[in-house]
Assembly symmetry: none
Homo-oligomer: 204 residues x 4
DNA sequence: GATGAATGAGCATTCATTCAT
DNA sequence: GATGAATGAATGCTCATTCAT
């Protein structure tokens, strides 16, 4: 009962512990975003979250475990948002899909740096279930399917679409205003490519 | 420690030195690509290039200087290739431009990761000229200008275009074949966006 | 690396830490005295104090911080002793002052080398107050004032007096006996110079 | 004929070599003075003297050998100057002696830092013949003898006198003017102590 | 369970010195 | 004999991680 498989974050049982964990995740999010996975230090995470370094290690026995926890947290949000978009009831138009993707990106932009820095640091996510990357490509494929077009090229297109979304994530964010010039162009890129895909050949 | 200008790589004066420098650059290229600027260590570069750590530092007095050298090496290639594309004589069509960009990406793909990892590490380059990033955005702007369209949005579009190119750089490279499915789609993205930009409003 | 104020020695919060700090200071005293600030190495300090290098850096995040701690420790003793001498109640005679200075030197002789090597390394001390050197010169001036004499030359004389005291500090110490021949002569030097200063011109 | 005892500077046979050596010694003087024996580097000495590092090592096979050469050079000058003072023909008055000592110090002041930094770095000088220190103490004793006073205390007094001279060497030098305020006071210290010694008891 | 001290491998960098050309 | 490249031990310092209290 005492030797859990290492590599998993310990789930805290009491309220106090859950608050701790939340504070830690928040601090880590900020630090990984400001610096990078490698440049951020566990000591700093502890400091910023008001946790003793020893306590930090109780919940996250490894820096990598902490990173994975973050990846899961934001990855799940991202996946859920994508699922909601794909399954939206009145069938999606291309314009809706482009706007929806951009909206997702904009909502998660605050935490985007974490995701980007973690995706690119090669940290594995849910070893068994496949990577975040795989899951995201799956969703992109789903989106393309809903919009129609020749299914033959969907696999490559999903990859490209994912890269486009990542590129938009990486875009410097100009002000929180409703629609910056950059956003307009970003949405254009998405729309153009989705149109292109939907147009590619009639279903079946 | 103080009288030697520490900002520039020392040029080797003998053949032996020139070989060593070449070996170092090669090893560093590989390592910065595999890991990242921050994760790669000078000791590893030395080891991988068969150089004593002291010799490494003779030519590259700082990790950053080494990175800058790499940036210049690949950055210059990239910029030259872009310049050739922009200034090609029979004025470019949108399709030519897209194909040209993709071609450039394909040719430099081997060294792509280095460039990517160094661009994003924000290392300054050519003291006066600003970052590689800045230079690249300038080229993208130049390309958009040649293709026409409302010049008002060129700044934002140049940024977007750079991100698209970066995304394509980052694409997993499938075989060295002439035109993989991924390449076709990548070219489509570029063409669509360049068309969109060129169409945006009549010149003048 | 960035959020922690790196300018001050971290105060240990537990007994174990306080012991360690004491051991470190002792070892550093010895080493800085035997060699010099520059020649002594942190690794050696760690070794000699039975501390892991990491622990040493926990409390003294920089070699300079360690030096400053030493400087404060011994500098404060020295300054307090000088203050007690200057403010002694029955106004000082020249002979008393000379004897007093010598006595101070003799008491602090064990740690003299550290002070000497640190004074001359120009390490800043107590951010606002300037160097130990400055503080000492101030005290020497105070002593000269109490003994009378033309105040016009006190600044230069304070500097000279400090150098005399330093010279006596540097004297090879012959046995712990009450008054060695060297001490007699050293006291003579001080007395002669203080007399000379006091005689220089009537007050006002 | 090829394996000379290590530790001695190789005497150059040709003019070219003698110039080299002179340049090296000059550069080393400046550097040791500006920084310190430990902080100055052989590479810097080579650079500053326009010598290749390999050539520097031909003449001075060790950093310490270089230091010893400097020590000898300045030590000899100092000793000669002292000898001239001691043996000056119309027998010396105390005032003359004080003025003479100060004059010597002032003349060698440019190079004082080297001597000070080398004396205090514990580098041995002429292993067989004794240290510079010993030689200097001898001269101080000689000077005291010429001025009269009880010879019993001359040994201790010579040591003290040497320390006084060293202290004056270390004095911050204010302008090259003929007699700065500091110099006046420094001469006073010397005169007072020499008088005290000469007065101590009638000869014999 | 929380706290913070302890640990030590590792990192970027320096520099005296040697050696091949 | 001159040159400069090569060498590697050593330095100041960092940081993930463990352990005693």
């Amino acid at each position: 009962m005492s030797s859990l498989p290492p590599g998993v974050a310990l789930a805290p049982k009491r309220q106090r512990g859950r608050d701790r964990v939340a504070a830690i995740l928040e601090a880590a999010t900020a630090l990984f975003a400001e610096k990078s996975y490698e440049a951020a230090t566990m000591t700093e995470v502890a400091l910023r979250s008001g946790t003793a370094i020893g306590s930090l290690y109780r919940f996250f026995p490894t820096k990598e475990v902490l990173a994975v926890a973050l990846l899961e947290r934001y990855g799940e949000r991202l996946l859920h948002a994508l699922d909601r978009l794909i399954d939206r009831d009145p069938p999606l138009s291309v314009a809706d899909a482009a706007a929806g993707l951009l909206e997702i990106v904009r909502c998660l932009r605050t935490e985007r740096s974490v995701v980007l820095s973690l995706i690119d640091s090669g940290i594995a996510w849910q070893a068994g279930t496949g990577t975040l990357r795989t899951a995201l490509i799956g969703r992109m494929g789903g989106l393309l399917s809903r919009l129609g077009g020749s299914p033959g090229a969907h696999d490559e297109r999903a990859v490209i679409l994912l890269h486009l979304v990542k590129a938009i994530f990486a875009l410097p964010q100009d002000g929180p205003g409703p629609q910056s010039a950059g956003d307009v162009e970003a949405e254009a890129v998405l729309r153009l490519y989705l149109e292109h895909s939907a147009r590619s050949a009639p279903h079946g």
